[in-house]
Each structure stands twice: as structure tokens, then as C-alpha cells.
Amino acid sequence: MIKNREAFLQTIATQLGRSTPSLTKPERNWKHLPQHEVLKGASADELVEILVEHCANIHTTVKICTQLTLKQTLEEAFATYNNGQIIYSEDARFEQLQIESFIAAQQSFKWDPTQGDMNIEIAERANIGVVISDITLAESATIMLQSSAQRGRTLSFLPENSIAIIPKSSIVPRMTQAAQFLRKQSHVASCVSFITGPSNSADIEMNLVVGVHGPVRMMYIIVEDV
């Protein structure tokens, strides 16, 4: 439901010197588009390098592995965070990366829309959340997650430790490419999160504190999948 729109838009139109509000989409003829120049032409390996380098600035541990060593890398990652309850999304890529059965064999829970609020309860007490990045931004070392029934929004927020698996093929130069991707979707997910490292705050004397509301620790595992 939309309320009070007509009068509100009329006021704006009048201020802008129009007799009635404009209902035609304006042309966007930008003179400057500097965002397309950033990391233009960088190779896949260069993007990985940039991403890895930036992880040091965002308090994020980063590992690189191949599909063959992914399981072992993940096992070590779980151990680093002292194992415990794991929660992960329902995502066909776990199977494609051949780690689905390994994760299922741990003390783990797969996000399950038929279980309703129980998902949130488990996420809240889980020690580790595991997700796979949909698009990864090299420039800022950012993962992008689109929410769905199979991957709730809180899955990557509530657990104290967060592990993001980054298929090398998901890495793009920057947010520009992610924005273009999202614009092409016929339906945008109800929540698209761009996540760059663990939650933090500098609100107390400008001292950086890591782990305020969301995850306290974050790890990226880049998988050479191509």
C-alpha cells in the first residue's frame, strides 16, 4: 500500500518547476564512469593476489586450496575454531565441491526451511557458519551472498565463527560487476549481503574492536575450481 504519494510528489514537482510529477524514466547519460577502470584486465590469478593481500586489512584469515585439498583445509579450519556445532546452507555447490558428505558427517546442521525458527535457534548457538560466496570482490575482499529459503540471512551473522568458501571462478574485480549481475536478475533476492571480514566497531575511542554483533572471526577459503 502506498499512502500520501500524490501530494508529496506534487510538492517536489512544483519545487523543480514542473506542473505535474514526471512519470517518464529519465535517461542516465553519465559523463564519468571511473569504476570500470578499476582492476580492468586483471587476470584471475591477479585478482586472487589482490584479494589475499587485502585480507590482512580486514582481520580475515585466508587459505588457498585446490578442490582436492578442500576437504582437508576445511577440516583444519573447523579445528582452528575448535569444531563444535556447525551450520551450513543448502547449496548444490557443496556437493559439486565434494564436501557435502564431509560436512554432513560433522556435528552439523543444514539450513532447512521446513524447520522454521529452529534454524535461527541453531544458528544462534552454532560455533561455525559455513557458506559459499556467490560473487567475490577482489578489490575489497568481499563475499556476496543472496538469501533464499535454503540460505537464511542469519546463517552468516549469528555464529561466532564464519567460514566462506570462495570458488576462484566467483572472483570479479569489484562491486561494479556484482551490481551489473544483480541488475540482470529477473528477481532480486530479498537480502543481498556484501560481507567484508568479521563484524567490528571503532565506536570506543576509535579503537577497533572485532566481533561486535556478527561473527568474531572470519576465514576465507579460496578454491581453485577452474
Partner: protein
Amino acid sequence: MAMKISKNKFNDRLSMNLDNDFMRSAVSSAQHRFQTRRSTAIESLDWEQWRNHGEEIRQHVLEHLDYYLYELSENVAARGGHVFFAKTAEEATNYITNIAKEKQAKKIVKSKSMVTEEINLNTHLEQLGCEVIETDLGEYILQLDDHDPPSHIVTPALHKNKEQIRDIFTEKIGYTASSQPEELAQHARQILRQDYLTADIGITGCNFAVAETGSVCLVTNEGNADLVAALPKTLISVMGLERIVPTFEEMEVLVSMLTRSAVGQKLTSYITVLTGIQEELDVDGPEEFHLVIVDNGRSSILGGEFQSILQCIRCAACVNVCPVYRHVGGHTYGSIYSGPIGAVLSPLLGGYDDYKELPYASTLCGACTDVCPVKIPLHQLLHKHREVIVEREGRAPISESLLMQAFGMGTSSQSIYRFGSKLASTAMKPFTSDDKISSGPGLLKNWTDIRDLPSPKKERFRDWFDTHSKGGRS
């Protein structure tokens, strides 16, 4: 909290704040750190091109604001959301309190939002009997401290030290550990986590609304906005009418500029784009979503000589370079909007009666204009305000040269003075007769005191200023 944060007059606020040593050194070091981080974050970019693009996007949106608001509202509705256009603060708070009544809400969690402070939303909800919890750590601290006003638009609790924060936590929320920021934050985390899980309504601001998809984009480092938006069944986002972009592509550019300009990060930890209500089978996310679009004086700025101030993306870069903000701190501005952006915007939204001195809290040095990511000519707008005020009042409420001398800028810091006089010389012409310091009546008297009389206040201020300017940071 409303936009106006103090009943005291400008000169009283000024003398109170000049007495606050911790505040001033905190502000000074914060400015320094913000500036360094920002410079590092933009060094690999062709920043001038980015600023040109940022400016053209914001100007385009303002020129077509009627269309984009129309498109935005259509798309929010298409995804199951409600849109309420509020002409006044009162209409906005009435609408939101009615939702709270209807939901019989007991607990409301909020993420940081300047516009909800501007419309004094929390007070209205509290009068209804709701518990309203600010979840941004800085805002949370201020709220616990009996609603102490924010002193900076990005880091609102900048004026408090960690010992003060520990004392507030001890008194208000049974805290027993040390003044270590980590321990303080950990305690807040535990308490707030329960609040997210049990709240009836979540309220967020809106960094950018995307017209093409009806999305609301939220930018945080803490991740609090995400939990506010994901857990309660009802979500209300409140935005100023100008905070809109055409598509994800422009959103992306402005987000990148905002995070760099505000905190010197390529992106903050969480950039979250919310579209509509939860979808079939979704477990989390709101079942009901309301977007409240607030005018509250903004539309009258459109089409006039101050229109460009609506380009603002609230990054506070101008605040972080302002020599006057550095000396007087955020509270002196008497508005939730402080620094150069506050000095331009507060008189427009709150009226000259309350804010006529603010355009004079500037040396017109132009550092704000140079740093603004969307190229708002801030110092020119301040100058314009002065012209309007002089025309209206027949005189300046305060002399600019006196102001600069009061801050010790004329003598103690050559560089700031030079900076300041670049534009000030022309801007000051109408007021040169006010140069005679000892004859200043009323408001001017305070400046006279600061400059001429050997009061303890003056000594401390000078000492402080000297130390800091010798450190090369002024």
C-alpha cells in the same frame, strides 16, 4: 532526541565545550586518523573522476526526484512492502507509532539513523510504552547515558572516553569488567543479541534506496542493521526523501565513495541490500515491511540556491577536516548534524532562529568542499547563508574575524589562517566594522572573553592548541 540537541545558546555551548579537554583531544586525534585512512583508501583511484561521477549521479537524482520516488514506491509495493510519504516529522512519527500500537510492540530494536533522530522518533515510541534499543554501539552508549546527544555523524560517541563508558555500563547494565574496549563491546554484544531475538519491530535508516528494485541499502561495520532487519517480524525503514539512486550501478558507486570517505575502508564489513518482505519458505527476514519517506523541510530546499546540500551522502568527510569542528566539537553546533554539513543543513531544516550562528562556525577555508565526495560547494553555501542572515537581521550575529581570532587561528596557526583567509577576505567585507573586538555586545562578548581575558579557559585552550599545532597536525 530531536534535531535540536541543546536548549543553551550557541555561545554557552561553545564555552562549555571549550572547557572539555578530553573531547577536544579526542576530536583532534579522530580527525587525524579519519583523514589518514581516507587518503590511503582513495590513493589508488582517480578520485577526481569518482567525485565527478558521484556529483552527476546525485544531481541527476535531485533533478528527477519526483520520478525516482514514484518508481521506488511502485517497486517497494510490488515486493509486498508499504510506503508512507510523510510531509512532516509528525506525520512520520504518527505513522510509525500507529504500527507499534497495532503490533502491541513492547520492544523495538533500531540501527543507526540520523533521520529518526531528526524526527524525534524514539521519544514518541517511548511515550507509548515501548522499549526502544539503539543497537549501533556508539548510539547504544549514548542512549544508556541518559540520551547524551551525538557529537559526530559517523562515530556518535566520539566525545566519551573508555572510562566514562565503563562507568555508564556499570551504572546502567550491571557491567563489572574493565574499561578495555573489547570487554565493553563483548558485554554489549551479549545483551543486544537477546534484544534482537525478542524484539517485535526493527527500525533502520536507509543509506540508499534503489528506485529500480525498491531496495534499501544499509552500510555498517558492526552488522547490527542486518540483525535488526532479519529477526523482528516487522521492519520499518525511514529515509529522507533525497536518499535515492536509480539502480544498483549508481548505488555501488556511492557506497564505495561513502565507505572510503567516512571511514577509509574500501567497503565496510556489511553492505546489505534489502528488497521487500521475506519470500515463501524464508525463515528469517520481515513478514511486514514499511518504508517511510520523510520530507520535513527538504522539499523546500529543492529548486533553490541550497539544493546541492541534498546531494549529501552523510559521510562526515567534511566534519573530519573542519578546523572549527576540531576546536569546538560536535555538541557546540546544537544539532544532530554537526560540522560543515550541519552548519549548512541545520539552519535549512531547523530555521535561522535556532541556528543562525552556525554558518559563522567556519573559516570558509574550503577544506570541506575539497573533500566532499559529491562535490557540494559547502563553504559557498555557508557564505550564502551569511548573506541571507545579514539581509534578514540587518547584521551578522557574530563577526567572522572575531570568530577566527577566538579560536586562536589568526596568530597561533599560520597555515589555518592562510587557508581561512583565502576566501574569507571577500566573504568578510560586509562585517569589517565588527572587527573592533572590545565593543562586541551580546553574543560577541563571549568571543571577546575568550580572546582577551586571561581566563583559565583561555589558557587551557591555547596550551592545547599550541601543542597540537606544533605536532604538525593542525
